[in-house]
Amino acid sequence: MSEAEAALRSLFLRGLDGDAAAYREFLQKLSAHLRAFLGKRLFGWPDEVEDLVQECLLAMHNQRHTYQSDQPLTAWVHAIARYKMIDLLRAKSAREALHDPLDDDLAVFAESATDASDARRDLGGLLQTLPERQRLPIVHVKLEGLSVAETASLTGMSESAVKVGIHRGLKALAAKMGGKAS
């Protein structure tokens, strides 16, 4: 097991147990690995890389309940990144890109690129397109860092409605990103 795998996996598992700091560190390191991994495979479209990194991060966040600790994290991350990349390639229907061997290795963690270029897509703008019952919980809880209870009293929504709003909102955001690509 590689060093990066072991480190990322332990951060991720702590995050899944509710440790937000570990989860954040995990996502930061993960985004660097994804940037390097996708950058290498999408060298023809440097502009797409950052968009795809964000899309992968959101997908992995939304699907984090599908990871089981008896499985190498590399395999899980690689499968999602590959799925999202193929989605993008299919949408672009760029034939020459399909000659690039996609499943040659599981080298997601082999390199790391921390310099983020700017994403072309404005995630903040996409957030504005969500309905209020999804946008407000995300803005208050996720961006301003309020608790679910505070957000509930602020917006007049019930606590479970706030949680559902965050959950559905992030899913919708991921879907909108995918939609934009195609």
Partner: protein, 213 residues
């Protein structure tokens, strides 16, 4: 929004997630939908009148257990296909071997029977309705399994849809077996297998359309 801001946003608030969600959600879907299959059985079909007596015949148990083996193997497959990066490995054997066993039994029965009795062995009394009835019985579990898959992350949606169809078809055939009067291996080999294959095919077609994420 910069990627770092997205990271901060995602890590703010509750990050905990349920473990083993795939298996539990699919099991929940199965057991929530199974009663509906029995409702269809009781309202539209009814149990076979000699069910208690039939329980002493080995062929009755072949008819119930071979679809259940397929369903069990398909359950393992679908919960693996629902998680990114997990291989299906040998689970497909559990779905294929029961079919092969029934085909061997059918071939033996077919060639041991005198030629004029072969067609009745194959067609029985109910070949017209068998496969479609199994499909109907499979419908609740099929819909529930696809719904559960929508909340999971199948990276091979056609295969995942087909495996969900195998689960539903296996369960549907086992439920239908409590009504059906046929007891010959050639009948099972053709009509039961077709009935189970029906949701498998539908799942393989619907998977890529419904299970995008």
């Amino acid at each position: 929004m910069k990627t770092d801001d997205l990271v901060v946003m995602l890590a703010t608030g509750p990050t905990a997630a349920p473990r083993r969600a795939a298996g539990r959600r699919l099991a929940f879907a199965l057991f929530a939908a199974l009663p509906l299959s029995f409702v269809i059985l009781f309202t539209e079909y009814g149990l076979r009148r000699d069910l208690v007596q039939a329980m002493f015949w080995p062929m009755f148990w072949v008819k119930v257990l071979f679809p259940l083996c397929i369903a069990a193997a398909a359950f393992v497959m679908v919960q693996r296909l629902a998680r990114p990066g997990v291989q299906v490995r040998r689970a497909w054997l559990g779905a294929v071997v029961p079919v092969l066993v029934v085909w061997v039994l059918a071939a033996m029965a077919w060639f041991n029977a005198p030629p004029q009795e072969r067609m009745p062995l194959l067609m029985g009394e109910s070949w017209r309705v068998c496969a479609l009835s199994i499909g109907l019985m499979a419908l609740p579990v099929f819909a529930a399994a696809l719904l559960a898959l929508k909340g999971l992350a199948p990276t091979r949606p056609a295969l995942a849809g087909a495996a969900a169809g195998g689960l539903a078809g296996g369960v549907g055939a086992a439920v239908y077996a409590l009504h059906c009067m046929e007891l010959t291996a050639p009948f099972l080999a053709v009509w039961y297998v077709s009935g189970i294959a029906l949701p498998v095919l539908v799942g393989a077609v619907l998977g890529p359309r419904l299970l995008r994420w």
